[in-house]
């Protein structure tokens, strides 16, 4: 082989390895949309994103974003030019984000109850005081959708006008279709022993659980995709931002994790209207807010069967089920999201936010 070709190949390989190592081992700048901290309680923080449109061009009804308690909410504001938050602020919404923070040992007894009807109503009260309105919209994604659903059922008279549920794991009746349900079955998984040992459910274990659903794609294919696209800065930048988010694991409060496994995964109490939250029964029929449920058709973490059945249970008159191709995170953070999911959400909300 020609020596020049060999040298060229070696130089190319060295350059690729350099870029690959940098992207895999460093953190990208994510969550860059300007915001202000307006309320805090324990680890929870409520942010208000700085509006970019004048008051008269903005929607009156503020939008509150609630993400899962075991991941960073920065996925909603991934990177400039590719951020749901930035998009909604640009459309004239008054956007708030509730960041649950990272639970410490002192938070190991926090339950879904605490998040849904202790922290959330307090943050909402503050948001309403700041916005100067009594009504608001709320978007819950993943476990955040469980919390917003509980809130919407128990506090239906507190001004919630629009409820948006994204890839919401609410119905656990189809156990055969849920890999998580199989793994956490009481025959094999002693949740009390795990919580006793760790206090909170370690973020690494939750991350492993999510990745092990598709191990080859997550542990090998993902890196192959980066390697194959090292020449494309757009793909590299996107991969870097997503990897930064994915590898930033957050533990889940022990009490909430136990409740998720026992009361939801094993007993499906929420969908049966049997879930008790601080002595109150969560009756989904009491949800009156306008409802948009977004389902990711290729979601292996929250399969569509977990989100469909709520439509028949709620008391809302105005409700829509929106299906979209994509995965659990991809529908909001993937490259197609700005052309598909975001405009649909914005269009639905727009008609209901004046």
């Amino acid at each position: 082989m020609d020596q020049a070709v060999v040298m060229d190949s070696a130089a190319g390989l060295a350059k690729r390895l350099q870029v690959f190592t940098r992207v895999v081992t460093t953190k990208a700048a994510i969550a860059q949309t300007p915001k202000e901290l307006v309320w805090a309680l324990n680890k929870a923080k409520l942010y208000r994103y700085t509006p970019v449109l004048p008051t008269e061009k903005r929607y009156r009804i503020p939008l509150l974003l609630i993400f899962a308690i075991m991941n960073r909410p920065s996925i909603l504001d991934l990177r400039p030019g590719h951020s749901f938050v930035e998009f909604m602020v640009g459309q004239g919404y008054d956007v708030y984000l509730l960041d649950w923070g990272v639970p410490g040992l002192e938070d190991k007894n926090l339950k879904l109850d605490d998040y849904a009807i202790e922290y959330l109503p307090r943050a909402i009260r503050k948001m309403k005081a700041i916005a100067g309105v009594e009504e608001f919209s709320m978007l819950g994604w993943c476990i955040g959708a469980i919390l917003t659903t509980i809130y919407a059922a128990l506090r239906s008279e507190e001004g919630l006008r629009n409820l948006l549920l994204l890839t919401a794991p609410l119905d656990f009746s189809n156990r055969a279709g849920l890999t998580f349900a199989r793994w956490t079955d009481e025959k094999y998984f002693d949740v009390d022993k795990v919580i006793e040992a760790f206090g909170n459910m370690p973020g690494e274990m939750i991350d492993y659980g999510a990745k092990a659903l598709k191990p080859v794609e997550n542990y090998i294919g993902n890196y192959c995709k980066l390697w194959d696209n090292l020449d494309d800065p757009r793909v590299v930048e996107s991969w870097h931002a997503m990897n930064t988010w994915v590898t930033d694991n957050v533990p889940m409060a022990g009490g909430a994790y136990r409740q998720l496994i026992v009361e939801l995964y094993r007993k499906n109490r929420l969908m049966k209207n049997e879930l008790m939250v601080r002595g109150e029964r969560v009756d989904l029929g009491k949800i009156r807010a306008n409802l948009l449920t977004v389902i990711a058709e290729g979601d292996h973490i929250t399969p569509p069967c977990q989100s469909e059945s709520i439509m028949a249970k709620v008391g809302s008159e105005d409700k829509e089920l929106y299906r979209i191709p994509g995965g659990h995170i991809g529908i909001m953070a993937g490259s197609a999201a700005p052309r598909t999911t975001w405009p649909h959400i914005e269009g639905w909300l727009s008609a209901r936010s004046r």
Binding site: S9, K15, R16, E36, L37, I130, T179, R182, A212
Partner: protein, 165 residues
């Protein structure tokens, strides 16, 4: 553009010729692994591994906790549990403050104060900035309603434009 990129990739990636074989292998492996992790036996095996780990490390954890507790007592230092209990109490105090904040909001509303003024436009407040950290919040553009004090907690805005005049 894609052609250029492909050409470039061909010259710089020595593994390019093996990509098709690799992808075929990974596809087959992915299907097989998904079947495996969805099986009852995988659930049983992973449960047994976790159980084994927890059982094996329990005596070690217990011994460490005991010796650490003794050492901390000797050094007159609080234990992790004591610090956690203190943090819980702080949270309760925060909740009481939040309750008071809510009451003040209601009182202000009953007194018929003007609604909050609109936000100043496009303040470049980012995570980690002075306002985010609650450092000297008055020097930065900020929203209406409550303001953050030095500890980033419920310091209410007093004396809006109308009150000052």
């Amino acid at each position: 553009m894609s052609e250029t990129r492909n050409n470039h990739t061909e010259t710089s990636d020595p593994f390019e010729p093996f990509r098709a074989i690799r992808d075929k292998y990974l596809d087959a492996m992915a299907k097989s692994m998904v079947e495996t992790v969805n099986s009852e036996s995988y659930a049983q095996a992973s449960g047994a591994m976790l159980e084994g780990y927890l059982t094996a490390t329990a005596p070690l954890r217990e011994a460490m906790d005991k010796s650490m507790a003794q050492a901390l007592v000797q050094l007159s230092l609080p234990s992790r549990q004591e610090v956690a209990a203190l943090a819980e109490r702080f949270t309760h105090v925060e909740m009481r403050l939040d309750d008071m904040d809510a009451k003040l909001d209601r009182i202000e509303k009953l007194l018929g104060r003007d609604p909050p003024a609109p936000l100043p436009k496009a303040g470049k407040v980012r995570e980690g900035s002075a306002v985010e950290k609650g450092v000297n919040p008055r020097s930065e553009p900020a929203g209406e309603g409550s303001r953050l004090g030095a500890r980033g907690r419920f310091v209410r805005k007093r004396g809006g434009a109308k009150e000052r005049s």
